[in-house]
Symmetry: C2
């Protein structure tokens, strides 16, 4: 029987509350489909550890994860720890150290969820944002001059490499070919005149290499507007690290809930473990009350199943998410209900 070694990093806040439900779901579908998980939990890789020891994870953290098949992460962040510390101390080193150059974020309006956008109806909005995940605008290159003086300035370098852009585009075009055959590239080459014209050239080049996919490009400002005006028209949307980040959060809002949206940080070549995490944060305002929405973590676990080679099991999980939303009115407070995390998970497990 196949066994998968999974690293669990609950992290902070509600991160610790949404991983156990995801584990229950994984165990349940594993039993049905004939595979098992052995999980190692890294409970203290968190802001608490940072406050105690000055580091979010041990110095050999990546080595501890290296032999795992996948990483499932809850959420990272705490009000008393600066965001860039918690993120650059844990999340971003894993993304970069394990060459997880694809950040995949499915967007879907489920029946039973009210989208804030009138045109976003269940069944019609179903697309994927593919975000470049390891280079681009998120860079450590740059600094400050004349600190504290009137002439002070900060500079920051965006770096786009042919290798880095090409591989994520090839992933996105491949994904489009396996879905609706359409791809939209986010750009801003009219304003940002070095990196984004290069991105556009590579999109045209990779587009020519994938003749089965019909592609277009939109400037990020117009594209953000179209996510609201015509969300049903997208299939695969590909963007740089920053643009993909903005578009995927916006898309989650358009689809009706950030509490449900999942993310996969993929190393498609499987040289290293990939990492799966809900899009929502650690939500300190509701942490510890047992009312966090577990669907983001559970849907992320479904993406993990897909990546581990179990598409049928993954589909069972997304079907159960769709069913619990369409057929019951059990809901956590973020979706307008009164259920606890445990009750919501229970309702989903029954449908699984």
């Amino acid at each position: 029987m196949t066994n998968h070694r999974i690293a669990l990093i609950p992290g902070d806040g509600i991160g610790t509350e949404v991983l156990p439900p995801a584990q229950q779901v994984l165990d349940t579908v594993g039993r049905r489909h004939g595979f098992t998980f052995s999980c190692t939990s890294y409970d203290d890789w968190s802001c608490e550890r940072y406050l105690r020891e000055g580091a979010m994870m041990p110095a050999d953290g990546l080595d501890q994860l290296r032999d795992k098949d996948a990483v499932l992460l809850g959420a990272v962040g705490r009000p008393d720890v600066p965001d860039h510390v918690s993120l650059w101390g844990l999340l971003i080193p894993i993304r970069r150290g394990f060459r997880q150059y694809v950040n995949l974020r499915p967007v879907r309006v489920f029946e039973g969820i009210d989208s804030p956008v009138r045109g976003a109806t269940a069944g019609e909005v179903d697309f994927v944002v593919v975000r470049e995940n390891v280079e681009g605008e998120y860079s450590e290159i740059g600094g400050r001059l004349h600190r504290g003086f009137p002439e002070e300035a900060a500079v920051q370098e965006s770096v786009f490499t042919r290798a880095g852009v090409t591989r994520v585009l090839d992933y996105a075009f491949g994904l489009a070919a396996s879905r609706g055959g359409r791809l939209t590239s986010a750009t801003k080459s009219n304003g940002i005149v070095h990196t984004l014209p290069f991105w556009d050239e590579l999109v045209a080049e990779r587009g020519a290499a994938h003749p089965g996919v019909v592609w277009d490009q939109e400037h990020i400002d117009a594209l953000a507007a179209k996510f609201v005006l015509e969300p049903a028209r997208f299939d695969v949307v590909v963007g740089s690290n920053l643009f993909g980040d903005i578009l995927s959060d916006l898309a989650a809002a358009v689809a009706g809930s950030i509490g449900i949206a999942p993310a996969a940080n993929l190393n498609p070549e499987r040289e290293f473990p990939s990492m799966f995490e809900p899009v929502h944060g650690s939500a300190p305002d509701i942490a510890g009350r047992g009312i966090a929405n577990p669907l983001g973590a559970i849907w992320s676990a479904a993406l993990m199943l897909d990546h581990l080679g179990h598409p049928a099991a993954a589909r069972d999980v997304t079907d159960a998410i769709a069913a619990v939303l369409a057929k019951t009115d059990v809901r956590t407070p973020d979706l307008g209900g009164t259920a606890t995390t445990a009750e919501f998970t229970e309702a989903l497990l029954e449908l699984l």
Copy 2:
């Protein structure tokens, strides 16, 4: 009688169709409020000129505008001219050469306009995006190495200066103080770790200097989501060149129409003329058919009146815009009607 010297730059596509209605409106309110305009039209500063002569405007273009009180621009861009050529050849040099460091974009849901967002109701959504307009992510600093080879890369420098950020923040805080007293700053200092932490520091510094304004900050991804989820909660939103661009287009979509949204490129010190332009582009698909929505240009003209010291006249124009939308069903096709530009303008002039 006060006379204002206005430079008109119709530009391309529907730009040439929306300026005459704006001029009619200006003449009408000028007559009522006792001031006049002498307009100079720069009809061939356009993509056509670029295709003919290799430049969007003459070499001494800025000098020709320098003695004007304001510039009213239609739209720039044509499918057969690369965007970065048309923009960096006309729009951006004017913004930068005339130190128009504030890009002001009011967002308002009008009665009679259906917003695509359920929560965006008339009267409740009424905020302003203040965008830094002359530095930041839009920079000419950067380039390409190893062109055409596998190791090719493009780098682009964002530059944020203390002077540049402070002045736009002071404008935004001042505006917030004169409105609802609330300001939200767009950041992404968790991912972009040099320029945006500097931005955040300056926001805190200028916030302390404006104790009457309550301010907060949101990461751009979460903020884009909140524009859709809670559009009524904003008063003044301030962002960098790129973030302000994305947020203002998104906000226009949330408010129900990009065809209506106006922009002011302000030099608050009045050392140089400021420039007013609708947010919509040249719309080559409908250009030449006389059906462009003139409200973006007309509302931009209202912002110009405000800047020229005629707030009562400006209010007359925005009231007429509100009235034509609330009290008639005359609409251009982009708003679901069948009226021509001329008919729509006529209906508005009657209400003025």
